[in-house]
Symmetry: C2
Subunit: 316 residues, 2 copies
């Protein structure tokens, strides 16, 4: 896929990946509605396979390759859910996934990659070294690169979240989406643009890593190197392809404080009894702190993932 995904591309992606993913449920909760002053519909990608929406894009990319292309495997760099997702997607086709990860990645994330049969190749935490190691893996193995987000097959795959959500809930006024590299919000913004153009798509980002917010306001990509957040899935900077889509089809990006993310996460665990990771609680944090004017609206919120290290919870 060499250009911005069309509606047909996203629908084709959905048909392609449907046998390998869950059609995740949409949960509602009276207490969230009361706190937000709106009708809130939570799309539970935390209940997705590998515990995150990432399996959608990874499956679409892997299933788009023919047997010959796949023969030498796939490769990516990821310290998070994309690595596990690509490993699982490759395993479905009997292919090898080479996952370049920093040596400092959490045990939980390494185990997830290994559980799905991925091959971990370690790099240092230096971005230059990470790219160097990835280049070397690809040179040595001939593996096909599947970038975590700046890839139209990935963007189309993540956009299938919106296809389902728009079928599951009618008349959404807006959809709130966490922003990391921009694959998820890019795909969702496209699908919504095609199918429900009056629905606003709003990105939410931790203030501590507000590259997408700054870039959106400035009109060009502004990295925020070295910044960190409890929302460890959102540390990456938007890519060229994703930023192009975001700047054209996303209506706004807002930011939230670290403490608001933790509170929103805890609220979901306590009230909804469903486990979301910090990154997944970021959009709800914007709602609970009234960062977005939603009174009386019908609001979709994407719970992007549920992979949490239970030994390192952000409270207590």
């Amino acid at each position: 896929m060499q250009s911005i995904p069309t509606l047909n591309d996203i629908q084709t992606a959905h048909a392609r990946i449907a046998p390998y993913i869950h059609r995740t449920p949409v949960l509602v909760n009276r207490q969230i509605d009361e706190r937000a002053g709106a009708s809130v519909f939570c799309k539970c990608e935390n209940l997705q396979k590998v515990g995150a929406f990432k399996i959608r894009g990874a499956s679409n990319a892997v299933l788009s390759l023919n047997d010959e292309e796949l023969e030498r495997g796939v490769a990516t760099h990821s310290s998070g859910n994309h690595g596990a997702a690509l490993s699982m997607a490759a395993a479905v086709r009997g292919a090898t996934a080479h996952i370049v990860m920093p040596e400092t990645a959490s045990r939980i994330k390494m185990e997830a990659v290994q559980e799905y049969g991925g091959r971990i190749v370690y790099c240092s935490t230096d971005p230059a070294n990470r790219q160097e190691v990835l280049d070397r893996v690809i040179a040595e193995t001939g593996a096909h690169l599947v970038h975590p987000f700046d890839d139209y097959r990935i963007i189309a795959g993540q956009g299938t979240v919106a296809l389902e959500l728009l079928e599951q809930v009618e008349g959404l006024d807006m959809i709130l989406v966490p922003v990391g590299g921009g694959g998820l919000i890019g795909g969702i913004a496209l699908a919504v643009r095609y199918l429900s153009p009056s629905t606003r798509v709003i990105g939410v980002e931790p203030k501590a890593v507000d590259d997408a917010f700054r870039s959106f306001k400035a009109g060009h990509i502004i990295p925020v190197p070295g910044a960190t957040s409890i929302a460890d899935g959102l540390l990456t900077t938007v890519g060229e392809k994703t930023f192009d889509i975001i700047s054209r089809h996303v209506h706004d990006i807002v930011t939230v404080e670290e403490s608001d993310i933790v509170e929103a996460m805890r609220f979901v665990w306590t009230r909804m009894k469903t486990i979301v990771e910090p990154s997944a609680a970021v959009p709800l944090a914007a709602l609970l702190t009234q960062r977005i004017h939603v009174a009386g609206s019908r609001v979709g919120v994407v719970f992007s993932g549920g992979n949490v290290d239970l030994d390192r919870l952000p409270w207590g």
Copy 2:
């Protein structure tokens, strides 16, 4: 209700409480099936109102009373989910719930009672004092006693869990239920006896508080005073009414170790991304440790509740 609930009593209870409770989902999970070597169907009462099945019995009891009987309110002793459930059930009718709780009860549990408008009356941790305080509250207010489990209206209400589960899943070979005071397993055992007599109902209890196990084997109630467990919803001894039903209609009771309960709870959080409290993980602990022969069976498991103090998790 002065005698053992009939099928009609349980069905009537279900019709009565249906507008006030959730019809909770049944979740399945590939990894649990693999670990257990069986098809496991989890009835998610952790997603029930007030976060536990207790709202079923409490609602049935409160809704069975006429306005005159309810005028002086209802009263109970409970350090757990029954207190919150009775408070919510009473609030639906505009009645007062007097909840006798030990001063040492957790902040979380006190807040739950207060959130639903219940009135807390403190007692000490001594059972004799608890009864004394409850008797005084009833004498002073004229409130109607709703015992947490040894009450046929409660038992009929809890039995509605099985009405739903048997509709949701066909051909269950057995249903595993945590055993505390016995209201839940008593109601389920009756409903299953009436509707699916070939399905075995098996109780699971922490070995550390194995009064039901001992009583079941001995044929008469054997309290285990002062014992404690991480499964704090299961510390009570079975009652006369519940033990009578258990001894006649439950097929077996097995016990599990404390560490197995914690591991099962963590397994559910990690793999299913749904929050269960320790008591609710007890049946699954029996499955994961092969305490029950289930190979190839279709097994129902009741996740009884999801109210956990996130600041005091049993690991880390």
